[in-house]
Subunit: 293 residues, 2 copies
Amino acid sequence: VNFADRLAESVARKGSTLCVGLDPRIELLPPELVAGLKPGRAGRARAYERFCEGLIDAVADEAVAVKPQVAFFEALGGYGLTALERVCAVAAERGLLVIADAKRGDIRATAEAYAEAWLAPRDGGRPVADALTVNPYMGGDSMQPFLNACGQGAGLFVLARTSNPGAADLQEAMLADGRPLWERTAELIAERGSGLIGESGLSSVGAVVGATNPEAVERARELMPAQVLLLPGVGAQGGSASDLSAAFRDHPAGGLVVAARSVIYAWRERRGDWQQSVRAAAAELRQATPTAL
Amino acid sequence: VNFADRLAESVARKGSTLCVGLDPRIELLPPELVAGLKPGRAGRARAYERFCEGLIDAVADEAVAVKPQVAFFEALGGYGLTALERVCAVAAERGLLVIADAKRGDIRATAEAYAEAWLAPRDGGRPVADALTVNPYMGGDSMQPFLNACGQGAGLFVLARTSNPGAADLQEAMLADGRPLWERTAELIAERGSGLIGESGLSSVGAVVGATNPEAVERARELMPAQVLLLPGVGAQGGSASDLSAAFRDHPAGGLVVAARSVIYAWRERRGDWQQSVRAAAAELRQATPTAL
């Protein structure tokens, strides 16, 4: 089934467009998950796995997707990648879509290998992730192996306009036609995604647009009418869910509001059980997202 | 020691600027390395490890560096990443610099985690790799954690102008000042790398410029005088080592000529022992590179 259609169905059923970022960092984990672990990478990977499984359990009814940040697992080498695979499987079992935030980008056989790593059925079963984030710098042909995977049910989120200050360096570089570079990226995404639009009217090829810049979200919606916009930067980075209504103007599943730190580390500022705090923060954010309103 | 200085010393000692790409693909491996292996990802990872260790043994006297393509290992999950770590350790033991071709790119804590994964000392020992390829789309701040690692002896190669046709889509997008976008990337690389120039006069922050486009190599040399240019695309992709002299104009270690398929699968078109064929292909290419001439 088309990824965008699966996402749209889940958004409709849950009344949520919340995507929770799984960004485990050893120095921020609940102490009870770290106590007694073996030192070194194997123990750290085990702690990340327990933390993420606890997060999935806490947010499963509030969110439609989780977005594990691959870098934090990759820092633990083979131990980390194996733990991440288990976390993704647990999320899928709990009915959450899994967006692997890897920002991969390469060409030909190399891009095919990345698509195989994340989006191809693994050992006759399901893929590690439902969707993957990718970087467009190498151009349209670098997207092709991932687009092929989208034809088999996978999803893609291509970086368009990111939420960091450095986005000004290249993404906002002014082109000869008077537009910033990222608008050309957006057109490339819309063009390449046009053949992968499902019954929902949405494409399996979405775009990453920073939630800290509501004007960019508005412009992205114009340039990419069929794209699901993955909107990171809500909460700790300063973006506000209520500023993102443009993303949802044409479709209730037109965007995914991503929060990581403000949800997964909510228990650091609240009292009581860490999972209860995470669940409460996720529920509050879900209520603040445009589709829920 | 500064990465560029280590590279320059190795180039001078070996009289070579050859970098061999380690791109293992199961369907292309020598049959004797595949025979008798367990099916599945564990067996494939073992075959990749044996192949790459054989390649390292064959090219150790001809090349100054190897460039493992992370994607092919990542496709095998935790098994693959563990095999890659072993391959990198073997290359380092044989005196080869290791450039992990991962094309990572992200911001803040996430970029720090990628830098930790590849460039930080592992378990009190050496890092997995000496240098890493990164993608500049997210801008200068996305490079910062990697630049910090360069201050500790690591190297970086930032994508500037790649060798694929799709490079035209964004890298060649014409800016309002009449130059293609990748030239702005080049300036960003030169600027961020200016604080990391070693005694050799070269910076630890290099750039990836496709060898299939000699005009771009010439222009890259002008815009990035202190950068080591990583030049993929020689051989199977159509680039010729003799066209790359601009890279080496100012310094014998001003470029690294990257060949993968034409060297590591040379035995598929030659007779006899596969490692002997690889060694012969590497020796021929080394002789054709400008520094050797």
